[in-house]
């Protein structure tokens, strides 16, 4: 069963609705003792990475997240939290991935936020993308991105520059796009996380 890290950063209605449509069981992780009830986790997140990190710290869940050996999937800002640092508020983050979260506008001439459907180019075979074609469109909405890094970027997208659309390091997964808003391909990815990641 999936435990959703419940720290108040953005709404999770659409995420839980997507899980419910596919009969994927889930519950909430509110305090450190709750981790034991679940075999995998999702860190949702919308909004400001710095304030999201602040809220996460207030829950007291950070040491448990850093020490996890079970699979955990960060979505959007939830993925950015896995990096060392964000230019959004110059915030120190969880530091699980050896990379940074940067702002588009300094490096891409395109419109910010990056809003809409973009192609995801799979870099490494991974059960998360089982049954999902290379080059499938997913829905993005973000102004900051996790830099491309061959050590942990498992899928990339291009928006003026190449950035991490998905990351993986050991049991830590992340997607910058919103699988709960990415049509059937997004739902497929959520099902894969629930059923195929060991």
């Amino acid at each position: 069963m999936i435990g959703i890290i419940n720290y108040g950063a953005g709404n999770i209605f659409s995420l839980t609705a997507a899980l419910e449509r596919h009969d994927i069981p889930y519950g909430m992780v509110n305090k450190p003792e709750d981790f034991d009830q679940y075999d995998r986790y999702i860190i949702p997140g919308v909004g400001h990475a710095g304030s999201a990190m602040h809220k996460l710290e207030e829950t007291g869940l950070v040491p448990m997240i850093k020490g996890l050996t079970k699979p955990i999937l960060g979505i959007c800002v939830g993925m950015q939290l896995l990096t060392q640092f964000s230019e959004e508020g110059n915030s120190v983050l969880l530091g699980i991935l050896p990379g940074k979260t940067l702002h588009f506008s300094d490096r891409s001439k395109l419109k910010v936020p990056h809003t809409g459907w973009n192609k995801v180019q799979i870099q490494r075979e991974d059960a998360l993308f089982d049954g999902i074609d290379d080059g499938t469109y997913f829905y993005f909405v973000h102004s900051f991105y996790v830099e491309y890094n061959t050590n942990f970027t498992s899928a990339l997208s291009e928006y003026g520059i190449q950035f991490s659309a998905a990351v993986k390091q050991n049991n830590y997964y992340g997607v910058q796009f919103h699988p709960e808003k990415s049509g059937e391909s997004g739902e497929k990815l959520l099902i894969n996380f629930a059923q195929k990641i060991a």
């Binding site: 209605f13 997507a18 449509r21 936020p113 809003t115 102004s143 808003k181």
Partner: protein, 250 residues
Amino acid sequence: MVAKRIIPCLDVKDGRTVKGVNFVDIRDAGDPVELAWQYSKQNADELVFLDITATHERRKTMVELVKAVARNVNIPFTIGGGIVEISDADVLLNSGADKISINSAAVRNPAFIDELAAAFGKQFVVVAVDTKFVNGKNWVHLNGGRIQTEIETEDWIKEAQERGAGEVLLTSMDHDGTKSGFDNMLLKKINDSISIPLIASGGAGNVQHFIDVFRESDVDAALAASVFHYGEILIPDLKEELRKNNFAIR
């Protein structure tokens, strides 16, 4: 490369979809959740709901609509109509809305854009602008085009961007309902002057109009209502034509 978006717009009153051939004359076109689901199956990229309910029950019906859509539909959607305070936006966010659209409330109180962006992030805030060409200039209009303001459209859109709009939905009242094509010249001018996504609205009558608006103005998305609702344009056919014309299309 980010894909050009095709967005059906559903006007909703008292929980039912309506769309007039103009802004005054309206007729019923069905259940909004059913329609939304149909559109997601047809590969629409996003949906916009404009709630025109006028009663004091409005907020309750909007929340019910947003929840029902979020439960059943797996693509992003925007909800607009009568959002005048932070608490309106907050309840819609928590009911599953991806974005909210504000129009008159932003013109009457521009600081509302700043407040929404600060509270929820720019990506949540769509500023909808109704524009009409009068005496050689484009002016912002309110109340479905009935009230002309003294604000020039281009100036207002730049201000909205400065204040924290994450996207602009621009409807040409001169083109809306005419099915004669989008206002490509104005859209190009606005699109070239801003650095946030622009959604074109007003005037779609056939597939060629979508090709033209993307080619001539390079807007990020094109929105239409009746041509989709009455099946005059089928979204899969439209997208196929756009692909043939070398646009990035999902």
